[in-house]
């Protein structure tokens, strides 16, 4: 079947088998390998992407269900001007080690900050509950998200 979606701001079409997941579509049809195949049953969050403003596990969505929707992957976050403030903060805080969970965590943080510009630590922890990181703790990620939230608020205030 044909699937057309708005992927990182661009209209893209691919022909896939009906049982194809959104994750497989992203990785194999569009070569966007930022979303990772981890548990493949919706527990680990390594495949987290943003669909119409909301985070989902791309492994638990069929490609057909993304027809006509807007999908943001980690590849669509940075701009010509540079990394997104959340990505910068993760770099500055050395929040990631192996990095496998990183794309999912950063997109979960993005969806949180889009809706809650000034989250509490508890809200940040809640937003990351579906993203498993087994290298380290979450402390440096939480610090990075708090810093990115301050940065994004300042950017907004400047506008």
């Amino acid at each position: 079947m044909e699937v057309t979606l708005k992927l990182n701001g661009e209209a893209r079409t691919a022909s896939v088998a009906p049982e194809t997941t959104l994750l497989k579509l992203l990785r194999e049809s569009f070569n966007l390998t930022g979303a990772k195949l981890g548990c493949d049953v919706g527990d680990c969050g390594a495949c987290t992407v943003i669909v119409d403003g909301k985070t989902v596990n791309a492994c638990l969505m069929l490609a057909a269900q993304a027809e006509g929707r807007e999908v943001l992957t980690i590849e669509g976050l940075a701009t010509r001007e540079g990394l997104h403030p959340i990505q910068k903060a993760f770099e500055a805080h050395a929040s990631l080690q192996c990095g496998f969970c990183g794309p999912g965590i950063i997109l979960s943080a993005k969806a949180l900050l889009d809706e809650t510009p000034e989250p509490t630590v508890q809200e940040i922890r809640d937003a990351l509950a579906g993203n498993l990181c087994r290298c380290t703790g979450y402390t440096k990620m939480i610090a990075a998200i708090e810093e990115a939230a301050r940065e994004l608020r300042a950017e907004r205030a400047d506008r």
Partner: protein, 294 residues
């Protein structure tokens, strides 16, 4: 995943027509958080997946003369954000919040959670305590039944292959009924309930006595169950700490918990007693606060 066909249903009518045509060869896909996870490891997959995730007629939250209607496709996130539900039933918001994580709550639907029939589901107890009904459509028309009867066994419901769950209805008499949902899992995030409990009740004006107390227990029997003996014990009784503790003990005796790798049956019974007492206390506090506002 093994190969299957996918048809996207425009609305519930279209979905029902597809189900009537294909019967048990078809399976309904709503949020997909359970179905797709299951299909990946399934030996046999259905020939046809009927994707209802775009059926807008199943996504409403509305109050009518009959009560509060929640469409089967309303997601857990939408329940958490609904102004109407937050106002009338904070317990439903709490229950939705304990399901999975943000990603699963964004996709997963209330109807989808209920049709799994999993005994530990977090959507069940509050709705059972509020005496919710489910509306089901099939080739022969529509029918309604109490949610408590919809659950027929572990992972089994009264839904037939060609039928579709349309909505959940909390009857008008229970609109705003003070209720509380509590869950005990082994972690704070993404945990299955060892025990989950909901209590709903009214307090008699001036007397502080229980009127129509309802207690529902999850994960401690083949289905979500009521605790009728504990409810009967409380009916008309003064809402004291002792009465609520006793109701908790009675409820623990009404359950049939199992021992497994997560917890022993004895531990689960202890949890029922404590969580039931606390849920009753929380619901009483809500009832008293509501009275003061008036």
């Amino acid at each position: 995943m093994k190969a299957f066909e996918v048809v996207t249903a425009k609305d519930s009518r279209h979905a029902l027509a597809l189900l009537a045509e294909h019967g048990s060869a078809a399976k309904v896909l709503a949020g997909g958080t359970d179905l797709l996870a299951d299909l990946k490891s399934a030996h046999d997959v259905p020939a046809l997946i009927v994707d209802i995730s775009r059926a807008e007629d199943l996504k409403g939250i509305a109050i009518t003369d009959e009560g509060l209607h929640i469409g089967a496709l309303v997601t857990h996130t939408e329940i958490m954000r609904s102004a109407v539900i937050r106002e009338l039933f904070p317990a439903l918001v709490d229950a939705a919040h304990t399901i999975g994580a943000v990603q699963t709550r964004n996709l997963g639907t209330l109807g989808g959670n209920l049709v799994t029939g999993v005994p530990s589901m977090d959507s069940g107890p509050t709705l059972v305590a509020l005496e919710a009904l489910v509306a089901i459509a099939g080739a022969g028309g529509r029918r309604r039944m109490p949610l408590a009867e919809f659950f027929t066994g572990p992972r089994r419901t009264a839904l037939k292959p060609e039928e579709l769950l349309l909505e959940i209805l909390i009857p008008k008499k229970n609109l705003g009924k003070p209720a509380s949902f509590l869950k005990f899992g082994l972690r704070k995030g993404q945990a299955l309930a060892l025990v989950n409990v909901a209590a709903g009740l009214w307090l008699k004006p001036g007397k502080d006595a229980f009127v129509e107390p309802r207690i529902a227990l999850g994960a401690v029997a083949p289905t979500v169950i009521r605790a009728p003996q504990a409810e009967a014990y409380l009916e008309g009784r003064a809402a004291t700490a002792e009465a609520m503790a006793e109701a908790g003990r009675i409820a623990a005796g009404e359950a049939r918990p199992i021992s497994d790798f997560r917890a022993s049956a004895g531990y689960r019974r202890d949890l029922i007693a404590v969580l039931t007492r606390r849920a009753l206390e929380n619901a009483c506090a809500l009832a008293r606060a509501a009275k003061e506002r008036r």
